[in-house]
């Protein structure tokens, strides 16, 4: 009879969570190592170990490891996690499993403002600081979210929300193209590479800024686990549990915008991670409890993006694919499968 208690069920679940976290952490470490170990220049594992831990500060190999591969893999991890959390928050907010920063046009909004800042004189004063880029992206994200919110107030259904998102995404792309027409050639090259999405060319400066902003946002999100859990029950119930819905909704939107703005500012718009990863993580954990799903989504997003970045770099080396190309290839089928599974229920 003791087996049929809530306590017992929770114990059983905890062991499942632990197992999933162990697997994800191992995958995380493995991805970091493989990413550092792989590239057009072959560097042996022993050499890498020596460079990282012994700190030999000379030579091309040192520079490749420390200045190119390390920041790149760390950034892929941090931004991947951020993207995945942004998706999770938006799904919670809209009570819609296929909501995500890319599909709702939030990434496009960020892209538009970043392009604007990059091209117009503002951007040229002593080069762009990371913070200015993130700030611009954040403003763009909020513009898109605002539009989607406005539309979603009138439309309740899941599909019309997505249509609204896709429309805003087109509008923002149109504006971006319009801006690009007036840009100088050198800017365009920059913008092209960035607007397709890529983790290449990350510096330690980027990593620091990214880690700072995303770290803070992650902490805040994690501390909001409890009201997020209540919100999953629907607004009215959440209110009856003591959540101040109005305040909470604002915080939720700001947080998800910060996450996706950071990603877009540094790596350009990246598709599907935000939808696919939280869903897969929830399935693996068999729960939607935010306290568990938030860290797991971050970890999962990190692993997923490192894997996709690795594929982007290595699949047709020395040619490098756009990161979105790879994330779409792996992410889109997950979303389609999810939709089918959902309608089958």
């Amino acid at each position: 009879m003791t087996e049929n208690t809530f306590h017992y069920e929770n114990l059983r679940r905890r062991s499942r969570y632990a197992a999933v976290f162990v697997i994800m952490l191992s995958a995380f470490l493995a991805m970091v190592m493989i990413n550092i170990n792989t590239g057009t220049v072959d560097i042996s594992a022993a050499e890498i170990g020596r460079i990282i831990f012994a700190g030999g500060k000379e030579g091309t190999e040192y520079r490749i490891i420390w200045l190119i591969r390390m920041p790149r893999v760390l950034m892929a991890a941090i931004l991947g996690g951020a993207l995945s959390l942004s998706g999770f928050l938006l799904q919670t907010f809209f009570h819609n499993p296929v909501a995500g920063p890319y599909i709702l046009g939030i990434s496009s909004g960020a892209k538009m403002t970043v392009a604007l800042v990059m091209i117009f004189p503002l951007g040229r004063i002593g080069g762009m600081s990371s913070f200015a880029l993130v700030g611009a992206a954040f403003a763009g994200s909020l513009i898109s979210v605002g539009f989607v919110l406005l539309v979603s107030k009138r439309l309740q259904s899941m599909s019309s929300l997505l249509v609204a998102g896709i429309m805003i995404s087109y509008i923002c792309s149109a504006v971006t193209d319009f801006i690009v027409t007036f840009a100088e050639d050198s800017d365009i090259v920059n913008l092209r590479g960035w607007s397709m999405g890529s983790f290449s060319g990350m510096s330690w400066g980027n990593v620091k800024v990214g880690a700072l902003i995303i770290g803070a946002a992650f902490l805040l999100t994690f501390l909001l686990s409890k009201p997020i859990g209540a919100y999953q029950m629907g607004e009215a119930y959440a209110r009856s549990m003591g959540v101040d819905i109005r305040m909470f909704r604002v915080i939720l939107i700001v947080l998800s915008s910060v996450f996706s703005a950071c990603v877009t500012a540094f790596a350009g718009p990246i598709s599907f991670v935000g939808i696919a990863v939280p869903q897969l993580v929830k399935l693996a954990l068999q729960t939607s409890k935010p306290l568990i799903v938030i860290p797991a989504s971050f970890l999962g997003g990190a692993v997923f993006c490192m894997f996709c970045d690795l594929t982007a770099r290595m699949a047709f080396a020395p040619l490098e694919l756009n990161i979105s190309t790879v994330t779409s290839v792996f992410g889109a089928p997950v979303v389609i499968w999810m939709l089918i599974r959902r309608s089958a229920n």
Partner: protein
């Protein structure tokens, strides 16, 4: 309307009060002048037609909707001054809003009732877990425990949500049509649980119900609600009068029986050519069959205290009545005989014969001798 309020009660005796409450959407008042006073452990049920504003009242007193005027006082505090957090420890709700949580088991759903009592991160302690089990036991949903909430039937969901509300250990419970989707067994069980919670734990209950028969049976007070109309609430026996129910729900066909709280379809139209002779409830299935087939009929001779008589009044074109415990008198016998001989068909059931109803047997014998009258015996 009978007024309950102001029976020399001190206002402080009441746990829940509204004064001149005005409710509605977006600044437009739907109902105003609502005054309610409820003590601890009392059950108030709102009844009334669809769209009357029952849900609007419930949403307003649960702080889901802004009050448009007047006051709501829970315990000692005014509702607008209570934060959502404070309110969540006093009040639990069961709403009509659809809940579609992903990958949450029934226990998880019930556990959300513990929300006001857990820490910053909402981690459940051992005691919380036990309270979840307890609440599920009470509502008899324990066997649903680890099943996914989304995989349940509507009725099961409703019961799990009730367990959730109980788990929240409220002082006042607000339920919006808690019995919809439930079959008869669970309707009764749910209402029995509510009564138990009210009496044993002193929880005040405010709910809306569609089933006026159940409302009369479970509630201490009943408040009729109709769009634009505010009635004073009262004891169920004062509210549930046939005339008033007709007026409240605005129906002129069919009828409502205040004793059993049952409703009946309208009687068949036309000239009655069928007569039913019965007693002691045997006639009831016959009346119902005839009513469904649309055949008008005369019922008699019935004693006023016969249970057949209760229903015959609503379904028969005419009822031939005799005063209780009396031999059948001449005028009544004559009336019945006349009616029987005019009929094409007489349906009779088993009737216990005694010294009083001798003449009914006489009447039946006579009818059976007539060849032009079809006689049907229903055992």
């Amino acid at each position: 309307m009978v007024i309950v309020k102001g029976r020399n009660h001190n206002m402080a005796d009441y746990y829940f009060r509204t004064e001149d409450l005005k409710v509605g959407y977006e600044g437009r008042a739907l109902l105003e002048g609502i005054d309610i006073c409820l003590g601890r452990g009392e059950i108030l049920t709102l009844v009334g037609p669809n769209g009357a504003g029952k849900s609007t009242i419930l949403k307003s007193i649960t702080k889901q909707l802004r009050l448009l005027g007047g006051r709501v006082i829970i315990g000692e505090k005014e509702l607008p001054k209570l934060t959502y957090q404070e309110l969540s420890r006093k009040m639990a709700v069961v709403l009509t809003e659809r809940v579609r949580p992903e990958l949450m088991t029934c226990r998880d759903i019930v556990a959300t009732g513990r929300y006001p009592y857990t820490g910053r991160l909402g981690i459940l302690g051992r005691e919380d877990e036990e309270k979840v089990d307890e609440a599920m036991e009470l509502v008899k949903v324990k066997e649903l425990g680890s099943r996914l909430f989304t995989a349940l039937s509507d009725g099961q969901k409703q019961r799990v949500l009730l367990a959730r509300a109980i788990c929240q250990e409220p002082e006042i419970l607000v339920l919006d049509e808690p019995t919809s989707f439930l079959d008869i067994k669970y309707k009764l069980e749910l209402l029995a649980v509510l009564r138990k919670m009210a009496k044993e734990r002193g929880i005040t209950v405010i709910m809306s119900l569609h089933e006026i028969d159940l409302a009369g049976k479970v509630s201490d007070k009943v408040m009729p609600v109709k769009a634009g109309c505010v009635y004073d609430y009262g004891y169920p026996e004062d509210i549930f009068r046939e005339e008033f129910i007709r007026q409240l729900y605005d129906f002129d066909k069919g009828s409502f029986d205040p004793v059993f709280g049952s409703i009946e379809l309208p009687k068949a139209e036309g000239e009655a050519e069928t007569m039913v002779i019965s007693a002691c409830g045997r006639g009831i299935p016959v009346y119902r069959r005839l009513q469904k087939e649309g055949i008008p009929f005369i019922a008699g001779i019935l004693y006023r205290n016969d249970v057949d008589c209760r229903l015959a009044r609503y379904l028969a074109r005419r009822v031939i009545l005799e005063e209780p415990f009396r031999p059948i008198s001449d005028p009544v016998y004559r009336e019945a005989k006349e009616a029987a001989l005019k009929s094409r068909k007489v349906i009779y059931t088993d009737i216990p014969w005694g010294s009083c109803n001798e003449r009914l047997r006489e009447l039946l014998e006579e009818v059976r001798l007539r060849e032009e009258i079809v006689c049907e015996y229903i055992p």
